[in-house]
Every structure is written in C-alpha cells, then in structure tokens.
C-alpha cells in the first residue's frame, strides 16, 4: 500500500464547500422561519437572498480553482448528470437560484400559495446543496477517509449548524416577540446539531481507529493537528455547545449566544479545510512514484 496525501484540492475547494453549505442552510432555515415562525416577508426575502449571495461567493472559489476559469460555463454542460456530483450539484444550485428568487418575488408580491410552493422547493434545494458538498468528496474512491457515507452526514449537520449560527447573528439585534421566539428555536436546534455533530465525529474516528491504513493515517494527521483538536473540536464545537446551553437558560443572553455562533462559523470552516487537507490516497503498492 502506498499512502500519498492529496494535493490537487486545497483552500479554494474548502472555501467553496464551506460557503456552499452555509448558503444552502441559510436559505432553508430562513424560509422555514418565514413560513413556519411568522417572521414576516422581509425576513424571508432577506435570508433567501443572503443565502444565495453566500452560495455565489462560494461558487467564485470553485471557478477560480479550475485550471482555466474561463471554461466555467462548460460546467453547465452537465453531460455527467447521471453520475457526477459536480454536474448534479450544478443542477441543485441552479434550482436554489431559480426557486429562491421566485420565492422572494412571491413573498414580495404576497402571492401566498405560490410563495409556499416556491419556498418549499427552495428549501429542498438548499438542503440538497448542504448534502452535496459531502457527496462531492465522497465519490473519490481512492481516498478512503472521504469515501464513507458518514462524510455527507457530517457536512450536512455541520452546514445546518453554521446556518443556525448565522441566523442567530441576524436575529440577535431584533427585539420583537417573533424574533425572540425564533431566536430561541434556532438556538435550541443548534445545540441539538452540535451534539449530533460530536456524536458523528466520535463514530467517524472510532471507525477510523479500526480502519484501513489510509483512513488511519488521515485520522492520525487530524488528531495530531492542534488546528483540528483545539481549533475545531474544542473551540468550534465543545465551547459553543456549553455557551449556547448556558445562554439558553438565561435571560438577556443573546450576546453570549452570538459569540458562540462566531465560534461555530469559524469551526465549520476549519472542518472543511482540514478534511480536505487530510485526504490520503491509498494506491496499490508500486504506483506512487
């Protein structure tokens, strides 16, 4: 077995995966807030457009990572739709744009039924984007640490947690009753998501402990990297979990929760970057020159 760390993908792809997930989750959660928590049309329009803007910002990094960025439009030549996650992702992202904008228009003109349908479709696409960022890495069979069904789950949960964090920022400044109510709902959901993320991570590394050589190497690289252990696990997950749990039990604690959210947002990025960095190929012996 020849173990070789991958070098083709780095920062750019990590930034794309991060903002893709964050944008998708923001769209889904924001529209949910408007449709189910009576947050008012401007909140729905604002979050849907904010999510799309974040997604677009992420896409820029994917384009810059191409050896010839001018070729980007070819990505819409989705002949690989039947089997490629970049092609499928392009369709899902296009869906998020189309339904997201239609939803915003419908909300603006108050076409209630149409708005609902477009809202649900946009939410579905937003959800799809978060999962797709994990499936994208998952398809690389030669990198066993990525080629596991746990990765899309981990990325989806993490994306929704960062989405919650962003919404808490948006909501922290508002004092009306609906905002308070939704703020606490999001806070509670985030506590649940972070706990779930810790569980998935535990399962991931426990699996890696008994895994094959490349998986063991990837997990060893991560567990000996303080950016992962201290940066992501301690400061990006455990600390915000404790802070948010504490804040949820106290009055006037939005500031604290907003601080915890900042940690979640930074942690989410570290996770994407480090997982990409820790990709190790397991080539049959003799191949690595």
């Amino acid at each position: 077995m020849d173990l070789v760390q991958q070098h083709t993908w780095g920062w750019f792809i990590a930034i794309y995966l991060y903002f893709g997930g964050l944008g998708g989750a923001t769209i889904a959660l924001g529209i949910l807030g408007e449709l189910r928590f009576n947050k008012g049309k401007w909140f729905g329009i604002g979050t849907a457009l904010l999510g799309l803007a974040i997604l677009s910002f992420g896409l820029i990094w994917l384009i810059l990572d191409l050896i010839n960025p001018l070729r980007f439009l070819l990505a819409l030549w989705v002949k690989g739709i039947a089997h490629s996650w970049i092609a499928r992702g392009m369709i899902i992202i296009t869906g998020a744009y189309v339904f997201g904008v239609l939803y915003a228009l419908a909300a603006f003109f108050e076409w209630t039924t149409f708005k609902k349908w477009m809202g649900y479709a946009a939410m579905f696409c937003g959800f799809g984007v978060t999962t797709y960022t994990g499936l994208l890495l998952n398809a690389n069979v030669g990198i066993p640490f990525w080629h596991t069904p746990a990765l899309p789950v981990l990325f989806t949960v993490s994306a929704f947690s960062t989405g919650c964090a962003l919404l808490m920022w948006v909501l922290a400044g508002k004092n009306d009753h609906e905002s308070e109510h939704f703020f606490h709902a999001v806070e509670g959901f985030d506590i649940f998501l972070i706990s779930l993320e810790l569980l998935i991570l535990f399962a991931y590394f426990d699996f890696a402990r008994l895994g094959n050589a490349a998986v063991m190497k990837s997990s060893h690289m991560l567990l000996t990297n303080p950016l992962f252990t201290i940066g992501f696990v301690v400061l990006g997950l455990i600390a915000p979990l404790i802070l948010e749990a504490y804040a949820s039990m106290k009055e006037n604690s939005k500031g604290l929760a907003a601080f915890a959210s900042a940690l979640v947002l930074i942690g989410g990025f570290l996770l994407r970057y480090l997982i990409v960095w820790a990709g190790v190929f397991q080539y049959p012996h003799g191949l690595a020159g």
Binding site: W77, G80, I86, G279, G286, A288
Partner: protein, 201 residues
C-alpha cells in the same frame, strides 16, 4: 470493436525507462515539469524485502483503462469518455480542469496540463506541438497510433518485453492468454474499478 488491455511483466522490466521517454516524445507530456516531470506512464523503483535480502524492482505504471472508471463517474461535463474499444479518453474541448477525476482515480494516472506546459510544449516541439489548451491529461493507449495499426509507443519501445499490448477479446493474443490463464492480475481489485492493465509480479 476491440477490448484493449496491457500486461506489465514486472519480472522482466529492466528499469531503462525507454517507455517513459518514448511516450513523452510521442504524446508531448511535460517531462520538463518540476519535481521530476509529469508523465502518462512511469517506472518506479522499489526496494523489496529487508536487508540483506533486498531486491530491487522496477514497476511500470499507466492508466489502467478501467471498465468501471471512477474518473469517468465523477466527470461533470462528459469530457472523460470510454470509446468503442474500451479506451478511456478525454475530450479536451469539454474539460473544465476541475481536477475531480485526478482525485477520483485510484491509480494516480492523471495530471494537469497547465498553461506553462503549453508554452514549453510549443518551445520544444514548435509547429508540431499537440497541446493547445489547458486540460487534464492521461494515457490514451496511443489511440492515434492504433488507428494507423501501430502499437502504443511504450509497448513498441519496451526492451524487456515487459509491456504486452493487445485485444483481450482475441483469445489468441498474448495478453488474453496471460490474463485468462490467471498469470497476470489487476492491481487493487477491491476498489471495484476493474482495470484492464494486468501485472505479472
């Protein structure tokens, strides 16, 4: 229609790297690139066993032209395709250069043909330069030579008869006999890509 494949005989490979030279000249691959160049085919040197029983081996590698190629599965634009003879090829006009296939290939067979490489290609080969746009590159089994009835340039040059090329569907061919007899085996079968390059070790 054929089903082309290759057998690598690690026992008879001399490590002369004539195949690498022949391929890089024919296909104009970036032998000039840093860190030892970029190649469609490589010969790696292996030290097997423990001192004092050390054995030196030369290990030729190439794109395996898989039957179920992950590089093809991930390619968004259809730039990577499989031709009627089972050869995995890239349509340069459709290649985004996203690098997804490089990450997906479990046999390290692909690399980026970058802008600098295009300039060098023109510098070395002048009017005969064959690469005019950035793309991801890999072995083609020399489809252009096959069309002329010639073997791929690596196999044609091989001094040790370590590269045996032919049609796996033709039971009389040497490749088919080596493969069907079980003497030559694919690498990393557990990954499910079903390579069509086989090794005698």
């Amino acid at each position: 229609m054929a089903r082309y494949g290759m057998v690598m005989n690690v026992k008879t490979c001399l490590g002369c790297k004539a195949c690498m030279a022949a391929c890089s000249q024919w296909n104009q691959t970036p032998f000039w690139a840093e860190d030892g160049g970029k190649w469609r085919t490589r010969v790696t040197e292996l030290q097997e066993g423990k001192f004092p029983e050390v054995k030196r081996e030369f290990f030729p590698t190439i794109c395996m032209h898989c039957v179920n190629p992950p590089c093809h599965s991930v390619c968004p634009t259809g730039a990577t395709y499989i031709n009627k003879d089972g050869i995995v090829l890239i349509d340069y006009d459709l290649c985004l250069g996203c690098g997804y296939c490089i990450e997906a290939c479990p046999y390290d067979a692909r690399y980026e043909y970058e802008k600098d490489d295009l300039e060098k290609d023109e510098f070395y080969f002048g009017e005969d330069a064959r690469h005019h746009q950035v793309h991801v590159d890999k072995c083609t089994f020399c489809v252009d030579r096959l069309a002329e009835g010639e073997e791929p340039s690596c196999a044609a040059t091989c001094v040790g008869h370590a590269r045996i090329f032919g049609d796996l569907d033709d039971p009389k061919s040497e490749v088919a006999q080596l493969v069907n007899s079980g003497k030559a085996k694919p690498l990393g079968e557990y990954m499910g890509a079903q390579p069509k390059v086989y090794y005698i070790k």
